[in-house]
């Protein structure tokens, strides 16, 4: 049996203590299968970003266990979490996704460069970047800076970058918030196609109910608790 892409058990994230305590996340159980696409829906401040940040190793839970692709990341140190983010998960953030002084191709290659000399794949990484850009229909834009790309193209480059390390899980934070509805629809369809073709799991954080039908499952969250 294959490990789930994400397994969260009894995860809580608490800020402050005593009377000042604020529970940002209180998740009894969340399991995402290895090729499952989950839409995470909830109002602002409901804990969506906190959940994704814990799943992606950006934030550590106060309690509970988190496993990504079968690897327990609960007790990892800050530097181990940095390596984990680089090698095991992909991110597409809501606002900033590309480094402006790098071209589309370099934005993908930077993932390989970030580990330092010892962990570089070199030629293999270049091959993978070219392949991803080709699959995302960006071959002719590979040498363009982000300022020379449209909003949709930028999101596609960001998706490519998130897939560069062949992650077990990709986290999308409001990937369509800066796009018009038609382009947003196209991007979410692209995300679905790319994830499904690779058998990669994804969490798509969204406010937009229209895009939930592209997900295999919709998870609602409110006041830090998963409601269904």
């Amino acid at each position: 049996m294959t490990d789930p892409a994400l397994q969260m058990t009894g995860v809580r994230k608490v800020y402050g203590s005593g009377d000042q305590e604020v529970v940002a996340l209180d998740c009894d159980e969340l399991t995402i299968a290895e090729d499952e696409i989950v839409a995470l829906v909830g109002p602002s401040g409901s804990g969506k970003t906190t959940l994704c940040s814990i799943a992606g190793g950006l934030l550590q839970a106060t309690e509970g266990t988190v496993e990504v692709g079968g690897r327990d990341i609960t007790e990892l140190s800050a530097s181990e979490l940095t390596d984990f983010r680089r090698t095991a998960v992909g991110f597409v953030f809501q606002t900033v996704n590309l480094v402006p002084f790098l071209t589309a191709r370099e934005n993908l290659l930077v993932v390989d460069e970030l580990g330092g000399r010892r962990s570089r794949n070199g030629a293999k990484a270049k091959e993978r970047a070219d392949q991803l850009l080709d699959e995302l229909g960006l071959t002719d834009r590979a040498g363009n800076l982000s300022s020379e790309l449209s909003g949709g193209q930028r999101q596609r480059v960001a998706i490519g970058r998130a897939l560069m390390n062949d992650p077990a899980l990709v986290l999308f934070d409001e990937p369509t918030s800066a796009l018009d509805s038609k382009l947003g629809d196209q991007v979410v369809k692209l995300i679905r196609d790319e994830m499904k073709s690779r058998g990669t799991a994804a969490i798509i954080v969204t406010h937009d109910d229209r895009i939930t039908h592209y997900a295999d499952r919709t998870v609602h969250i409110e006041d830090g608790r998963i409601t269904d």
Partner: protein, 373 residues
């Protein structure tokens, strides 16, 4: 490296401007250092580059030949000191001269009664003065074959010196300088002051015996002749009036540059770091180790500063290629250029510490909100 050089490639103008600014600062430092060295050489080159390891002034002479008067008593006591191999009596003064019948100008004439002491150690042209009336001149001011006339006054009899050799860096008190025999010097004094009852000896140039340390011999002389002020050649040059003041003035300027360099590079890279804060946060979020980002920053600092150092040294080489600026000798000094170049690289890294601190404090979690450092 990847991040550092790609960013420089995409922003060549701003990084080039910083390199240029650093280059100009380094050029100013090196050029002023060359001026300082040129000035000091012009002041005391005649002492620094003469052949006697020990120089004796009178105690009240304040370490200037012109202000010093060495009595016969001091002369006798110095000659009796153990370890003294040879002593030359010297006279030095400033005279109005004409060179080849041209306009009158001031020149310093230094005469000694031993051609092997108190004269330039090395000649850059011609030969050493052998006969009375022959002289070796400072290269910047004289050419071999020049006829130098000491302008007489009153009943004084004009004296003509023939320049038979020239030497580099042998000026005294920023004046054209001639090295000749003591008799010619005395004749020059009498040309301008025919009534002078005696021509005093201004100083003594001393050669130690084999195996005797010049500093030790100077101490012995000072002990034996309390009215004498004996110093080594190097100390005579270093402690001559005006030299310390020149050094001090320039050191203040250099210290200011030492503060400006890290400020300029520090502010530049701080601005660049703040401008790309969101990118750095993104990179941290997708798994960049702080060490990788810090290395990229330091690499940029070193690369840009190195480029600036090349520019600065290039300008310094260009300006000093003539060897002279006005009448001041300015020379390209490779050791100085390399030393200051390394100093600039260190100062630039020190200046970038604030940016480095920013980079190290990046919270990758900020990527989820779009915030930066």
């Amino acid at each position: 490296m990847f991040l550092a050089f790609h960013e420089i490639r995409r922003g060549p103008v701003r990084f080039s401007l910083l390199a240029l600014a650093i280059g100009l600062l380094l050029f100013l430092v090196l050029f002023q250092q060359a001026i300082q060295n040129g000035l000091i050489t012009s002041f005391v080159g005649a002492l620094r580059n003469q052949s006697a390891p020990v120089v004796v002034f009178s105690l009240d002479g304040q370490r200037t030949l012109q202000g010093s008067t060495v009595s016969d008593d001091i002369d006798a006591k110095v000659r009796e000191v153990e370890g003294v191999d040879a002593v030359a009596r010297a006279g030095q003064g400033t005279f109005t001269v004409t060179i080849g019948g041209g306009d009158a100008t001031d020149a310093s004439i230094l005469g000694t009664d031993d051609p092997g002491l108190g004269r330039p150690s090395e000649l850059s042209g011609g030969r050493r003065a052998e006969a009375e009336g022959e002289a070796v001149g400072s290269e910047a001011d004289f050419e071999v074959g020049d006829e130098v006339s000491v302008v007489a006054s009153g009943d004084g009899e004009a004296v003509v010196l023939t320049v038979v050799g020239v030497a580099r860096d042998v000026q005294l008190s920023v004046e054209p300088t001639l090295f000749t025999d003591l008799a010619t010097y005395e004749a020059s004094v009498r040309a301008v002051n025919p009534q002078a009852p005696v021509v005093p000896v201004n100083g003594l140039f001393v050669r130690p015996a084999d195996g005797v340390d010049p500093a030790e011999l100077a101490d012995r002389i000072n002990e034996a002749a309390p009215d004498a002020d004996a110093v080594t050649r190097e100390e005579a040059a270093r402690t001559a009036p005006g030299v310390a003041q020149i050094r001090q003035s320039f050191q203040i300027i250099f210290a200011l540059y030492g503060m400006v360099v890290p400020l300029v590079t520090g502010l530049f890279f701080l601005i660049v770091t703040l401008q790309k804060a969101r990118s750095l946060t993104l990179l941290r979020a997708i798994g960049a180790r702080t060490g990788v980002l810090a290395t990229a920053l330091v690499t940029q600092v070193l690369a840009v500063t190195f480029l600036g150092v090349i520019v600065g040294i290039g300008l310094y080489r260009l300006v000093t290629s003539g060897g002279e600026l006005s009448s001041l000798t300015v020379r390209f000094d490779p050791a100085l250029a390399i030393g200051w170049g390394i100093g600039f690289l260190v100062l630039a890294v020190v200046g970038s510490l604030a940016s480095l601190r920013r980079v190290l404090r990046i919270d990758p979690m900020d990527a989820t909100t779009g915030a930066g450092t």
